[in-house]
């Protein structure tokens, strides 16, 4: 009896700590991107900086991830209202759009490589390398987000969420919106800071 109480208290404490922990993690991830973009600013002021046209595919991927975030928003709105019936579909669309975003980014990389902007080696320029590093770092973080959305989707298919028990969904939504925000920032930064 006492042990069960202890376990339930531990679970409650863990759940209470989850959101601040995620905020902390997201702040440190934001600082990775801050560090890289700061290095970009320093290196850009240094000369020998190639100015090239951003592939239009990045615009498509921006639209895709924004749409994905909107679907996630719809899912969490439903959960907040206590309606769990159509939620799995929204999560599914979030996942599909997130995967489409990933492919769009890879396509943009292929287009860049075809125009002679490469990540490293003899023919690379720091401007191109920074673009690959920033988008690559974002994709790396997006991979974790995709796994989280996948898990949330499967759990919502199995009706694991109920009113008052939506912590996993809330955390997933927070992280997913964070990824969208980071991409929007990176896109605007790369677009306007040449």
């Amino acid at each position: 009896m006492e042990k069960a109480l202890y376990v339930s208290e531990l679970m409650a404490a863990r759940q209470k700590a989850a959101k601040p922990m995620l905020w902390l993690a997201m702040a440190s991830m934001a600082m990775i991107f801050a560090g890289l973009t700061s290095a970009y600013v320093v290196r850009a002021g240094n000369g020998n900086w190639l100015i090239f046209k951003m592939p239009a595919t990045f615009l498509i991927s921006t639209a895709l991830i924004t749409a994905s975030s909107l679907n996630m928003l719809a899912a969490s709105q439903k959960a907040k209202a206590g309606v769990f019936s159509g939620m799995a579909w929204y999560l599914f669309f979030t996942l599909v759009l997130g995967v489409a975003f990933t492919f769009c980014q890879l396509q943009a990389w292929a287009e860049l490589t075809a125009t002679g902007i490469v990540f490293g080696g003899k023919y690379s320029n720091a401007a191109g390398s920074f673009l690959y590093a920033l988008t690559g770092m974002h994709l790396f973080h997006l991979a974790g987000g995709l796994i989280a959305v996948l898990v949330t989707w499967i759990k919502s298919l199995g009706r694991k969420y109920s009113a008052g028990n939506t912590l996993g969904l809330e955390l997933c939504a927070m992280y997913w919106h964070f990824l969208t925000a980071v991409w929007l920032y990176l896109f605007l930064f790369l677009y306007f800071f040449r």
């Binding site: 934001a30 801050a34 973009t37 700061s38 002021g45 240094n46 020998n48």
Partner: protein, 88 residues
């Protein structure tokens, strides 16, 4: 107990195995200061870069604690208006 031992070993390793720095702050500063007139110098972008990265933690903290900051502001305003009423 086990975690304590692991922690002790980690601290001991961190203390006993320092990474030797081959440069010091003064060296970078000297090279930046002496190359400021060179058109291709590192010094040109570094001030902008430092200002940029300095702002970001403040923005992050302000965003994460926005609700608490707003509550604090509201509270202090309420306190002030109460004090004003008490004085009049």
């Amino acid at each position: 107990m086990k975690t304590k031992i692991i922690l002790c070993i980690a601290v001991a390793l961190a203390v006993c195995l320092p990474l030797d720095a081959t440069a010091q702050c003064a060296m970078c500063r000297a090279s930046l200061e002496s190359s400021i007139n060179d058109p291709n110098s590192v010094a040109k972008g570094i001030n902008k870069g430092i200002l940029y990265i300095m702002v970001i933690p403040y923005v992050l903290i302000a965003f994460i604690f926005r609700k608490q900051i707003a509550a604090l502001y509201k509270q202090s305003r309420a306190g002030r208006s109460m004090a004003a009423k008490a004085n009049s």
